[in-house]
Symmetry: C2
Subunit: 200 residues, 2 copies
């Protein structure tokens, strides 16, 4: 293996240009249609520099996402879990409807054949926010706003799965204004409150 480079001597300027250019190029052309050489050229950087710090285009794009999103999407606690979820999911939907959404789709795509990328997505994006959401749900369960007989982990998946389903498999994007209904359906359930009146 090539000797590891020294992060202390790393050019902050080159890193910034690379991360910004990555988002811009992928957002415009799609992940699969952007080459590392093109990113290097557009960023005014030697492609050696990219390969020195990132092992693949997917890893670079994932880094660019995390750099751009930063501390956004943190979880509030107003006491009303429905309002908190509505706010957070709406914010996520807005983010995914922009440039970040295109880049994220590409990274998830690459992860389907590259387990290392999948693990990195989970570790840097999904898991931290899942845990934050779980923590919020735990307090909601404690005050009786949510059922206590469902693992909060399962709740998180149930709430966010439709967002990612629409991102990756939907005919069109989920709109922010659709979030309240979506949330209500998850919370109230599909079963009729009237019960089964099939047989007379």
């Amino acid at each position: 293996m090539t000797p590891a480079p020294n992060p202390d001597r790393r050019s902050a300027q080159a890193r910034r240009n690379i991360l910004d250019t990555t988002i811009e190029l992928i957002a415009r052309n799609g992940h699969a249609n952007v080459t590392i050489e093109a990113i290097a050229a557009a960023a005014g950087v030697g492609k050696t520099t990219i390969y020195r710090w990132w092992p693949s285009k997917g890893a670079l794009a994932l880094d660019a996402i995390n750099d751009h999103v930063g501390e956004a999407l943190d979880f509030p606690d107003t006491g009303d879990v429905v309002a908190d979820l509505r706010g957070q999911i709406t914010e996520l939907v807005n983010l995914l409807n922009g440039d970040i959404g295109v880049v994220f789709r590409g990274v998830i795509a690459e992860a389907q054949s590259a387990p290392a990328i999948g693990a990195a997505i989970l570790e840097t994006i999904i898991e931290p926010r899942t845990r934050a959401c779980q923590a919020r749900l735990v307090t909601a369960v404690a005050v009786g706003q949510l059922r206590a007989d469902i693992p909060t982990r399962a709740m998180v998946e149930l709430l966010y799965a439709p967002v990612y389903y629409r991102l990756l498999l939907g005919a069109d994007a989920l709109r922010p204004q659709d979030v309240p209904d979506l949330l209500d359906h998850c919370l109230t359930g599909l079963r009729s409150p009237a019960g089964d009146r099939m047989a007379p």
Copy 2:
């Protein structure tokens, strides 16, 4: 454009070999790690033959999926919508946990940067089964088993989104034995039946 080939003179043998080999190779190595040249070689076929009938690896893989799945995953109607959903979703989970799951993940991945593939997935896989599910839900609504104030389209997404979420973003696969609980959570909802007892 190259003149369209005549389907009547197409070699059924070559088509069979290509479709079977595609599933086999992608299931073993992952979509991104299989080349059309490798499929042609393993199928004992000239790569010209593949390019003559399929425009891309994604289109070929999608065809191979549809060929292998065939009429499976049809929708029963036993009168009990919960049992019917449980059976159908379990069947889907089993399918996605096998070779088809690997191939499908690859096709969805390719679709993220290739809108034509995405449209083809919707048209040949998602939409027909969504409509079949919707039809079953409509009868369930009619007999009072499901709420009448949620569009059946939204219900379908709510039920199936967690399956695809786990397929594409999960740390590990959804097990068939997890389906009943998942279904119950969707049907009953996350909100506590006791109501909010936060403030004394």
